[in-house]
Amino acid sequence: MRSMLWSIIPEALVLAGVDENFSLLEGTVAGRPCRLRRQSDGSASIEALCSTDPKDFLRAELAPGRRIFLPK
């Protein structure tokens, strides 16, 4: 895995755990397909919005990092 980082944080810290296998969920939030990262408390956070409409990226409810409660 190779990338060109220009950061003041040591790459060992930035990339710690990058090789660990983690899974992203795919779901729909507010009618738009998203990739979600599962959190330790059972919720999920938006990792990426999958949309070709630029307006969707101005919607606060679809911003990366927003917590989503998964149905039980």
Binding site: W6, I8, G27, T28, P54, F69, P71
Partner: protein, 280 residues
């Protein structure tokens, strides 16, 4: 529908579409309980219990709503590029910022963009992509560096039509590095050098600092303990021509409003622009 990309047997597979399970979810003013704003017709108000639950569970609170002709974009943590960063990083994802910039440029209700930076750097190509887009926007863009605008944050900050830095903020200029396996051959060094030239070219074309000055700062061996480079604090960044002015939110908003009104367009000192970096 809802499915796992990579199956992990230990985790139960959710069956339903992801939907807000909690009626107190923010950003949903017309959720199941109706309008939360007591001023809205039919609004029931938001009880203290609900409000504290939102803060406790989501880390969010309801902020005052306003109608503004300015869009605010925050670039924080690592600028994330092609590689999804591990969860200990706070990241700004460039694939989200790029369409946002397109939407800002296209939205007639938005007259100007304020970019607030507190970034430690990140992916070079993702950062340059954002910087190039910001520099090529028709609408006025003002950047404000708070805390830190390090590494790839430097070209992003100078890409704005006018840049400000808080007095206590810093910007670190240091050499680019490459992760992963690197062959110890001349070609690897040449590639890094060419990438560094691209970045320096962009910085000098969109600010008033000279090429030699950036290289001197970048290769300075007398300042950082575990790296080479230079840390520029607020006033230093202005004195060397990297950033246009020292200021805060008040100055940034005032400048942006003047640019929107067209009052400051003629007064802005000329920067070389993309003719000297990418030719755009």
């Amino acid at each position: 529908m809802f499915r796992e990309r990579e199956e992990t047997p230990a985790r139960p597979k959710p069956q339903n579409e992801v939907a807000p399970a909690d009626p107190t979810e923010p950003n949903e003013p017309n959720g199941p309980n109706g309008p939360a704003d007591p001023d809205e017709p039919g609004g029931q108000g938001e009880g203290d219990g609900d409000r504290s639950k939102v803060i406790n569970e989501l880390g969010e609170t309801k902020v005052p709503e306003l109608t503004s002709e300015i869009h605010v974009l925050t670039i924080i943590g690592q600028v994330e590029g092609h590689l999804v960063m591990p969860p200990q990083n706070k990241t700004t994802k460039y694939e989200h910022i790029i369409p946002q910039l397109v939407a800002v440029e296209e939205n007639p209700a938005i007259k100007g963009l304020l970019v607030i930076l507190n970034t430690v750097g990140g992916d070079v190509e993702a950062g340059l992509a954002l910087a190039e887009l910001l520099a090529s926007m028709q609408k006025p863009v003002v950047s404000l560096v708070l805390g830190g605008g390090h590494s790839i944050g430097v070209p992003i900050a100078v890409a704005a039509r006018y840049s400000l830095i808080a007095p206590t903020a810093t910007m670190t200029i240091h050499p680019i590095r490459m992760t992963g396996m690197v062959l110890g051959v001349q070609q690897s060094f040449d590639y890094l050098e060419r990438m560094q030239d691209r970045v320096i070219g962009f910085i000098t074309a969109h600010s008033h600092i000279s090429d030699q000055q950036v290289r001197d700062y970048m290769m300075n061996t007398g300042e950082l303990a575990r790296d080479i480079g230079t840390v520029l604090a607020g006033e230093d960044a202005v004195n060397c021509g990297l950033i246009d002015a020292v200021g805060g939110l008040r100055e940034a908003l005032a400048k942006l409003h003047r640019l929107i009104d067209g009052a400051d367009n003629a007064k802005q000192p000329e920067k070389a622009g993309c003719d000297q970096c990418c030719g755009a």
